[in-house]
């Protein structure tokens, strides 16, 4: 018997077992990790409230949530990639390049600039996806390469110049505006989280993402090719990075080719904080939301408490290691030995 026949017969053997509904799976996905995250978040906020009560001032909350949303959006895309067992180091450069390419069209108005930015991000992400899925290039290496290539192209396209956003109201609104009293980035971020969550839990392609990450047989049987899933998540990662770009750029009224630098590390850190495993197939977008909140508030509290910028860096790194350590060992995760 060839391989396919063996697998079919094995599957037949399991036919009598109760079917796993979407809700069962959802419940499993909502494992201990979320509770742990909520716990950590409340501790962080409590400590903040005691030592630096300014944390809870409306303006500070708005600022924190704004930056959380921007970085969180990039982390959301990264989460999807990580779930399939891949990694994307180029999201920062994608942000820079799409910002700059969109910036070329600022003279034609915010609408065109934003549209081109998003399309550019999607395209750049898809390039990553195709190379990883069909070219079989390991994603760490591919996205390391595109990090360089896209970053270099951003500089070349911008000729090193910043472009100003004064007077481009729609563009500036994406970062500084409000919808129903909430900062625009927060609204967009939350909507994306909700959409992705529903997509993941209740749609077949969404669940196949997990199967793809686990290299699971079920992926094969779901009828959706793993390659297409991977291309899709890389495309989304690029799209989200490009979405976050204008929101970030409008804070300082200008578009430069260097603005995306460092986002990839933050995105990975947040995704991992949120319980997403580097090896794939574990984690979910709600975790990423909580991870982003923890990350943002922790940095804000450190900043308000007057600890120097450099100490913040140290604590950021330590927090990352400690939280993953906790996930790996206390929650009984088993990665590769």
């Amino acid at each position: 018997m060839n391989n396919i026949e063996i697998k079919r017969s094995t599957l037949k053997a399991f036919e009598h077992m109760p079917r796993r509904t979407e809700l069962t799976e959802a419940r499993e996905i909502f494992s201990n990790s979320l509770l742990l995250l909520l716990f950590i978040l409340s501790i962080v906020l409590a400590i903040g409230g005691i030592f630096v009560p300014n944390v809870f001032q409306i303006i500070n909350l708005a600022n924190v949530l704004r930056i959380v949303s921007i970085v969180g959006l990039v982390a959301l895309g990264e989460t999807l990639v990580l779930l399939t067992g891949e990694i994307d180091l180029s999201v920062g450069s994608i942000m820079s390049l799409s910002l700059v390419v969109g910036g070329l069209l600022l003279d034609h108005g915010s609408g065109w600039a934003l549209a081109v930015t998003l399309m550019c991000g999607l395209l750049l992400g898809l390039i990553n996806g195709v190379a990883v899925a069909f070219g079989k290039v390991p994603s760490l290496i591919m996205t390391l390469g595109t990090l360089s290539v896209y970053g270099g192209l951003a500089n070349v396209t911008a000729v090193g110049q910043a472009k100003y956003l004064y007077g481009l109201d729609l563009y500036l609104w994406t970062g500084k505006g409000y919808i129903l009293g909430m900062p625009v980035p927060v609204v967009i971020f939350l909507s994306m989280i909700i959409i992705c969550f529903l997509f993941q839990t209740f749609s077949k392609p969404g669940r196949t993402i997990y199967y793809a990450g686990a290299n699971n047989l079920a992926a094969y049987y779901s009828g959706i090719s793993v390659e297409k899933i991977k291309i899709g998540v890389f495309g989304l990662a690029g799209l989200f990075a490009a979405m976050a770009g204008p929101m970030y750029a409008s804070q300082t009224n200008r578009v430069t080719p260097l603005q995306g630098i460092g986002f990839e590390l933050s995105a990975i850190a947040i995704a991992v904080l949120g319980g997403t495993s580097i090896e794939g197939a574990r984690g979910n977008v709600i975790g990423t939301l909580l991870g982003a909140l923890i990350y943002g508030f922790l940095l804000n509290i450190l900043s308000l408490s007057g600890i120097g910028t450099y100490m913040e860096q140290v604590l950021k790194g330590a927090m990352l290691i400690i939280i993953v350590l906790v996930f790996q060992n206390i929650l009984g995760r088993r990665g590769n030995p």
């Binding site: 290039v137 990090l147 790194g317 030995p337």
Partner: protein
Amino acid sequence: MEDEQAIKQNIMMELVKKNALLLVLLSLVAIGIASSSSFFTPYNWQNILISVSTLGVLALGQTAVMLLRQVDLSVGSLMAFAPIAAISLTEATLSLTGTKVVQGGNYVTDGLFLIVVFTWVVSSLVGWLIGLVTVKARVPSLIVTLGMLYILRGTAYIFSGGHPMYLTRLKGFKWLGTAKIFGFVPMCFLLFLAIAIMAILLLKYTRIGPRMYATGNNEKAAVYSGVNAAFWKIGAFIFSGFCAGIASLIYSSRLESVEAAQATGYELASIAIVVIGGTTLEGGRGTMFGTLLAAIILGLIINIISLIGLVIWYQTIIIGLIIIAAVFLYLRKVRRRELIG
């Protein structure tokens, strides 16, 4: 007749593939000679060899780590942290005997021996720590080294107060970076070669090689056949840390200064060299010799770009494309082998 030609073509292709890196290196040398009359001068070659040394040593350490399917993102920050921590330690130690190590705000004037020793010790210890956390606490190396990248960089700033330190008045410190044996070959390049040769020999002729490749290839299987995977992993990280320490000494010796911001981004450059040299993250494949050649190739590319006067962004793009192309080509070889075998 046709068969003979086909066979000859196949043999040619095989030769090209096996010696791809060497051929690339030689073509670069040809390009260099063609593009500038200053290329083939002794001084320029010394520059190339010196610039190869720092990143090359770093890449050797990274190769050991990547052979085991791990990654070490902390080496850049470690290159800043180790010398700064070493200077602080030396200060503390020597103050017991009343000797002032740092004077006039930023000039390091004494304690050469201790500083050098402490740099190695600190960097290897950090590597050991990383290895421990990866293996014993089972945190993926990407995360541990990512966290350490932040921790080490921030600590370097805190220890040094953000001020660069001058080592121009430290007698003997600049020897490593500037000395030339026989008046020609830079000392630091010889050091790089020595470490590379030692690594190549160790991997090829002792038990270390097969065990590391086995661990990288399929860890479970290796463990079942009695290989102490944990030991080799920790060892690889110690080696990576050790290499970062040496690289930092070469760097600081050449520039006669130490600052907390130095070597930013070098971890990615070291990974790039390792990848170009043939070690992909499939694990268990790749050689130190490949890394050695790749380091020289990168040094040649950077030098030629400077000689031509090409704008630096093109360098970033070129290197990125080379990385992608290299991996693509290597994996085509791999896949073809798998199909046949």
